[in-house]
């Protein structure tokens, strides 16, 4: 059981020999994630924290069952790494790498959809089912098992709000950091649909940001009745419309024309009956009320 992954999901780490890849492999192993293999082209035969390294996923699959992948390779090589995971139909593929050009992500996501594979990210903290499995880079101790699902476009803000949840006895069924890039794999609406089906999830928190239309599309689903579970939202960047056309760290915060302004998102959520927290702590209040 679980959304996209569960405690038995077997994971390959692409870019395992790099600094980030190696460090987080250790943390994921400590969290209990079944990391069965690593891949770094040219480093086949090595070991990282006891995990055997291969040159290619195909070579790793000769020795191991592999379900999912997490990618740490630098942006320049991310296309090839992700394409390799897609071709081998790993699912989900969590892309941690930041700085991947949008045209590259576009091609990756298009191919992944053709093959029915889920990409989480890029430029995301990954996915965690507290107490079971972590395919990502979030600080594990911040999360507690429970029945509130969190979908977030932000990294640290996810930890901030998840910590508030944990501190207030609101454990999490799953936390999905879908990433801050404007073009990405799993989107808020798609994640909502998965969570609606998840028996372990009772309530949902959406952590949105300025830019894009995911929040508006999500509100539409809720308004239509496709999502029936209670939803609470927080939108970061409410006061960031000061200068349009400037990247706010995440390219996701780019405001193209009128779309994606925070007022538009807040209005859409309100019309769908979703309370939007002004301060992070208000998320807790709204959840308790719902």
């Amino acid at each position: 059981m679980g959304v996209l992954i569960n405690k038995d999901t077997k994971v390959v780490v692409q870019g395992i020999t790099g600094k980030e890849g190696s460090f987080h492999t250790k943390l994921m192993l400590e969290y209990g994630t079944k990391i069965v293999a690593g891949v770094t082209p040219g480093k086949g035969g090595m070991e990282v924290h006891g995990v055997p390294v291969y040159d290619s996923i195909k070579d790793a699959m000769k020795e191991h069952d592999i379900d999912a992948s997490i990618i740490f390779v630098p942006a320049k090589f991310a296309y090839d790494a992700a394409m390799e995971a897609i071709y081998n139909e790993l699912n989900p593929i969590v892309i941690i790498t930041e700085g991947i050009p949008i045209w590259t992500t576009l091609k990756l996501v298009t191919e992944a959809r053709k093959r029915g594979v889920n990409i989480i990210g890029p430029n995301c903290p990954g996915i965690i089912i507290p107490g079971e499995i972590k395919i990502g880079i979030m600080p594990g101790h911040t999360f507690k098992p429970g029945n509130v699902a969190v979908i977030s476009r932000s990294g640290t803000l996810t930890y901030e709000i998840s910590k508030l949840l944990s501190d207030n006895d609101l454990g999490q069924s799953v936390v999905i950091g879908i990433g801050g890039d404007p073009v990405k794999g799993l989107t808020i609406p798609e994640a909502l649909k998965l969570l609606e089906q998840d028996p372990l999830t009772k309530k949902i928190v959406i952590i949105g940001e300025i830019g894009g239309v995911e929040e508006e599309k999500a509100a539409e689903l809720i308004k239509n009745g496709e999502i029936t579970k209670p939803v609470v939202a927080y939108i970061a960047g409410k006061h960031a419309t000061l200068r349009t056309g400037v990247s706010f760290g995440h390219a996701g915060a780019i405001i193209l024309g009128e779309m994606g302004r925070p007022e538009s998102k807040i209005r859409a959520f309100n019309e769908a009956g979703v309370p939007v927290a002004r301060l992070p702590i208000e998320v807790i209040d709204y959840l308790k009320q719902s």
Binding site: E20, H24, A75, K76, E98, G99, P101, I102, W103, L106, K107, T110, P125, I137, M138, P139, T142, S152, R153, S154, G155, T156, L157, T158, Y159, E160, K163, G180, P182, V183, T187, E209, I210, G212, V213, E214, Y234, A236, G237, K238, H239, A240, L242, R243, T244, G245, V246, S247, F248, G249, H250, A251, G252, I254, L256, G257, R278, L279, P280, I281
Partner: protein
């Protein structure tokens, strides 16, 4: 990153899209030289990143040296919606027969490139969409095959442009698509695209946005950045250090780790009545150097009164952040208060380091932000 009109036109020219003869001037003298070279009448346009220059009365014409000098002088001392005009584009005036609109942009949600063409150029496309939607033709471009001339022809036919007349526009579609798709652009807009009295089709404006992340394969992005000066350069230098900085107009310096958390901090500052001076994200996994560089950047901002640093350690380790803070305090002449909120990975170690140096760190971000706002208003 948005490009200046003249930068966008450089790209257009590289891809074979006709533009009027022009030149960029940083002074009245330069403007005069360009005008003499290309010949009157000319248009003088301030080069700014915001739009709506026309509405601001900032597009000028000159038939002779006197008019040019007057207008260039005026424009070069202008400030348009907070953006100081440092350079103008002096461009040969074309004989407009009709104004059209064309753009390629990325539909992030549908994950597809889109092309729009309209027979109503020179005004904002949103207005055309509202008042005369039938004058706009819009299509998604299939990624595998890109823009083809038959799609262009279909779109032209749909807005009533046919036969030989239609053929004139096709190279613009094809070449603008090439610029868009090969150049890692996210927006490539020509408004107006002008048909001249002589029958040529010319790009008279250029609004182009490029994906900064593509710098590793689009070498020109760096060149453009290096050519630019002024306000951007602080942000540019920060980026070189792995720091994402956007300068705003207030007096409270905001530093955070992660874009979402930093944005939330900016929001909270406003929420509690303060004015953020910037948005600065030190990024994931920052070490002491990046923290030091962040503080160093912020204290260079003109009106800065206080700094709020909001850190939630994940990949980022609180002890390393604390070390960076100490380094800044010892090496920089910090004349303003620094409010620190520190929690997450290695929190204990981080607090210990700061306490030794007599710095109290908050755990709760609301409290920390409130304190910073208070300090910015002269409180203690």
């Amino acid at each position: 990153m948005f490009l200046y009109e003249h930068e966008g036109k450089e790209i257009f020219q590289k891809y074979g899209i006709p533009i009027p003869p022009n030149g960029v001037a940083y002074s009245v003298e330069e403007a005069l030289n360009i005008a003499k070279k290309i010949g009157y009448p000319v248009v003088i346009k301030p080069q700014i990143l915001g739009g709506r220059r026309g509405k601001a009365g900032a597009i000028r014409f000159a038939e002779n040296d006197d008019e040019l000098i007057n207008n260039a002088q005026e424009l070069l001392s202008m400030d348009i919606r907070g953006e100081k005009v440092k350079r103008v584009l002096v461009e040969k005036k074309v004989n407009i027969a009709h104004e059209y609109y064309i753009s390629f942009l990325m539909d992030f949600y549908e994950r597809k490139p889109i092309v729009m063409f309209s027979t109503e150029g020179g005004i904002e496309i949103e207005e055309v969409a509202r008042t005369k939607p039938e004058a706009i033709s819009k299509r998604y471009i299939p990624l595998e095959y890109g823009m083809t001339s038959f799609i262009a022809m279909e779109m032209l036919n749909d807005v009533g442009i046919k036969g030989q007349e239609a053929r004139k526009f096709i190279p613009i579609f094809i070449n603008l698509w090439k610029a868009f798709s090969e150049g890692d652009l996210l927006l490539a807009e020509i408004n107006p695209l002008v048909k001249t009295v002589e029958g040529e089709v010319i790009a008279v404006d250029a609004r182009v946005m490029v994906d900064d992340n593509a710098e590793f394969r689009q070498k020109w992005i760096r060149e453009f950045k290096e050519r630019r000066g002024g306000k951007e350069s602080l942000e540019y230098k920060a980026k070189e250090k792995g720091i994402s900085l956007v300068v705003l107009e207030g007096d409270i310096g905001v530093i955070g780790n992660g874009a979402g958390l930093t944005m939330a901090t900016v929001d909270l500052v406003k929420e509690f009545g303060g004015e953020p001076a910037d948005f600065l994200d030190i990024g994931g996994g920052a070490g002491p150097e990046r923290v030091f560089e962040a503080i160093k950047s912020i204290i260079q901002l003109p009106n800065i009164k206080v700094i709020i640093m909001n850190i939630f350690g994940g990949i980022t380790r609180c002890d390393l952040v604390a070390k960076g803070i100490l380094e800044a305090l010892s090496k920089l002449d910090l004349k303003i208060p620094l409010v620190v909120r520190l929690t997450g990975t290695n929190e204990k170690e981080g607090r210990a380091i700061l306490e030794k140096a007599g710095i109290k760190a908050y755990t709760d971000m609301i409290e920390a932000v409130k304190k910073a706002v208070e300090l910015s208003k002269g409180g203690e």
